[in-house]
């Protein structure tokens, strides 16, 4: 897997640019990742990101949209407004967590 520099820090990413080592993430990196996919981070975005990071710490898996709704209190509709078109993928990308996957 490639190592690249984001916000002055070397980080491991996969071929899609997702961070592969969640502990290498920081808020500066999040800002760069967000701007790369055209998301401008508002305080509400940060609340979602904070929830995702904390939940991953607890559960060891990226939160699903439903879990982000039920446990985090961010309705799925709102997730679509904050992270248009592909909220689940964009949220995990910016939060430095593995993207939601199927089995194939």
């Amino acid at each position: 897997m490639p190592v690249i520099e984001i916000a002055g820090k070397p980080v491991n990413v996969n071929e899609e640019g997702f961070l592969t080592v969640p502990s290498e993430w920081n808020e500066e990196i999040a800002k760069v990742l967000a701007s790369q996919i055209g998301v401008e981070l508002t305080p509400r975005h940060w609340e979602v990101i904070k929830f995702l990071r904390e939940d991953f710490e607890k559960e060891g898996e990226s939160a699903t949209s439903r879990h982000t709704q039920t446990a985090g209190g961010f309705p799925i509709k709102e997730q679509f407004e904050l992270f248009p078109k592909k909220p689940a993928k964009k949220m995990s990308y910016i939060a430095g967590l593995p993207k939601p996957k199927g089995c194939v």
Binding site: I4, I37, S65, K77, P84, G102, C103
Partner: protein, 426 residues
Amino acid sequence: MRKIVILGAGTAGTLVANKLAKKLALNEWKIQIVDSDDRHIYQPGLLLLPFGVYGPKEVVKSRKHFLPKAVEFIINQIDRVDAQNSQVLLSDGRILDYDYLVIATGTTPRPDQTPGMLDEKVWRKSIFDFYTFEGSTALHAALKDFTQGRLVVQVCEMPIKCPVAPLEFAFLADAYFEERKVRQNIEITYVTPLEGPFTKPVCSKQLNYMFVDREIVLESDFVIERIDPESKTLVSMDEREIPFDLLVTVPVNMGGEYIARSGLGDELNYVAVDKETFLSKKYPNIFSLGDASDAPASKAGSVAHFAIDVFAENFLDYVQGLPMTGKFDGHANCFIESGHGKGLLIDFNYQVEPLTGQFPLPVIGPFPLLKESRINHLGKLAFRWIYWNLLIRGRFIPIPSKMSMTGKHQVQQEQVQKGVDSHASN
């Protein structure tokens, strides 16, 4: 006498009963198993039933027939589990005490979770599920009459049981219509809440052609909000609309409601377990196996089978107060039907994605991995016999519970430094 209660007599529950009845001294242990009916369904068959490959008799048998005589089979509804007092409360008031509880009630399609889906104008008239016996049978009749229009195959939300089944359904439908010479009059659309039909790198690279060649239209990142039964339209959370004449849906899948009533489940009623041992994260005398748990493995029969191999060995140590040394690796091994008498095979685990190569199997193998071939289709058909005669009876099957790298092509690690691309916004 120590007591084990198993909830659910499907693939996982039946296997646990058979394994434990063989391994435990039955003068010291009493095993009870509970289910709401005596209908054991060969669930992989529900995919093939709509296309007339199987009839009902090949898919449904008596649960009791596959359970050991020493195990008491109780047909009843489960009201709830009182985990504090180690008791299961049945809906007729009967109480089952246990020393160890195994929750294996699986996952169930819940069309009620999507507004509009159960509307009587459309449900099982132009909207069908196929992971229930009734849905699959009704769909068989509907497919026969479907000669033109828009077929939409749609997944509501992950996780679902047998994650490849909707893909298989789309491929089989394409072949079925082609064989009936009506394919040119039918548009097939595949709708998924994920980023695409394939989300893992090797699968995406190897298998995307399957959609292109078959001219199956793709609608990705589609999270359903509701169905409009009047206009027969799927409406997404971000206001996209997909009209259909025939909708084959995989509804939201959820664990049993009694799990929620017992305070044992997450938001989809799955029991939180350690993904290597299947021991509950809350109670040291509760395990959950098969589709009922929240383990991040595929909800598939092969996973239940491999996991229970590990569980059964561990259990013997655990009840003697010894540590559980077996660790389940997430191994799954699944045939994917691709139509016209061909199929693919995938073999993977928590760490290793499905890869190309060969899957070795004595005498009848090897099977090509991630590649359409006739032998994989024959493997899928042969598996029905294996399921009824060997697998759920807990007899030996020559596939190890731990995944092996033998025959698999390893992915070349990419050394080239690449910048962050914009895939996430594509």
